[in-house]
């Protein structure tokens, strides 16, 4: 029962905060609600005995990714203009469509449509089961290739982020001695013949 209660509370929290994320007018508030959503889903994941991933979600997401978000929001000082947000004419149409999609998905996930799984109750692993250990075993053996690829992805993120945000050389204020030495008079001095005013 408690499990069920926890599930409903946090599921509601998750959905509520997710809703707030998309309807917020301010980026900062949206980011905070997103953090709440992440935390709520971490709880749900715990319920599913995916402890490692639940923690990872908190550490990586709340700790790193959301910080990045907040950092960008603050750095760019974005929030002045997003205040005037207003909903548009076609909103009902969009909402209807999304609702329809959710409806279809929900219909498809009725227990009857899930085979044996639909009737199963959430399993409770044995006491000596370690989620982290199980994942670790798989990760470094069967998924070594994927693991390496994940590393590459992070490398790409680094290269790309640097490449993109790297400012042009011209903004660099470092002294260039060779250029200074090579300078001639013609470079620096221009003699203009001004016409006398009448």
């Amino acid at each position: 029962m408690i499990e069920k209660l926890i599930f409903y509370v946090f599921a509601a929290l998750l959905i509520g905060s997710a809703t707030m994320v998309i309807v917020s007018r301010q980026s900062v508030r949206a980011a905070f609600f997103l953090i709440v959503a992440f935390c709520a889903s971490a709880v749900l994941w715990m319920l599913l005995s995916a402890e490692f991933l639940a923690l990872l979600l908190i550490f990586v997401y709340v700790g790193a990714v959301m910080t990045l978000f907040m950092f960008v929001v603050m750095m760019l000082n974005l929030d002045q203009e997003s205040l005037q947000e207003k909903f548009v004419r076609y909103l009902p149409f969009a909402v209807l469509l999304v609702a329809l999609m959710v409806g279809v998905l929900v219909y498809a996930m009725k227990p009857g449509h899930l085979g044996e799984l639909g009737l199963a109750i959430s399993p409770h692993p044995s006491a000596d089961y370690s989620n982290t250990k199980a994942l670790g075993l798989l990760l470094y053996t069967h998924y070594v290739y994927a693991f390496e690829l994940a590393a590459v992805i992070l490398l790409i993120a680094i290269v790309a982020a640097i490449g993109l945000t790297h400012r042009e050389k011209s903004r660099n204020k470092r002294q260039r001695i060779d250029a200074q030495l090579a300078a001639t008079k013609a470079d620096r001095l221009q003699i203009l013949q001004l016409e006398a005013e009448k």
Binding site: I22, F38, L48, S49, L91, A120, I121, A134
Partner: protein, 101 residues
């Protein structure tokens, strides 16, 4: 008890919300990026639910990689956002209509 269906429904609703976020949000690009995160969260929810009910840890492995990719993706997305802002002084979604037709 909480069934698989319940988790999946939560995932589906999250997925729908994230899509709705992209469609109804017309001003703030950064919220669109957040919606992308929500979408991945929905997927992760599905994976973990299936993984747990199937008692198959490989689903969680997938989530692990999704988290990694999501982080990288966010980095690149924000980087693009930053230079966009640098050039336009705006991240208004409605302003991004130079390219059309």
């Amino acid at each position: 008890m909480v069934t698989l269906t319940d988790y999946l429904i939560v995932g589906a609703i999250l997925f729908g919300l994230s899509l709705a976020g992209m469609i109804i949000n017309r001003k703030n690009l950064i919220i669109v990026l957040m919606s992308v995160e929500l979408m991945l969260l929905a997927v992760n929810m599905n994976f973990i639910a299936f993984s747990s009910f199937l008692q198959d840890p490989r689903g969680q492995i997938f989530v692990f990689f999704i988290l990694a990719v999501a982080a990288a993706e966010t980095a690149i997305g924000l980087a693009i956002l930053i230079i966009l802002f640098r050039h336009r002084q705006s991240i208004n979604v409605t302003d991004l209509d130079t390219l059309k037709g």
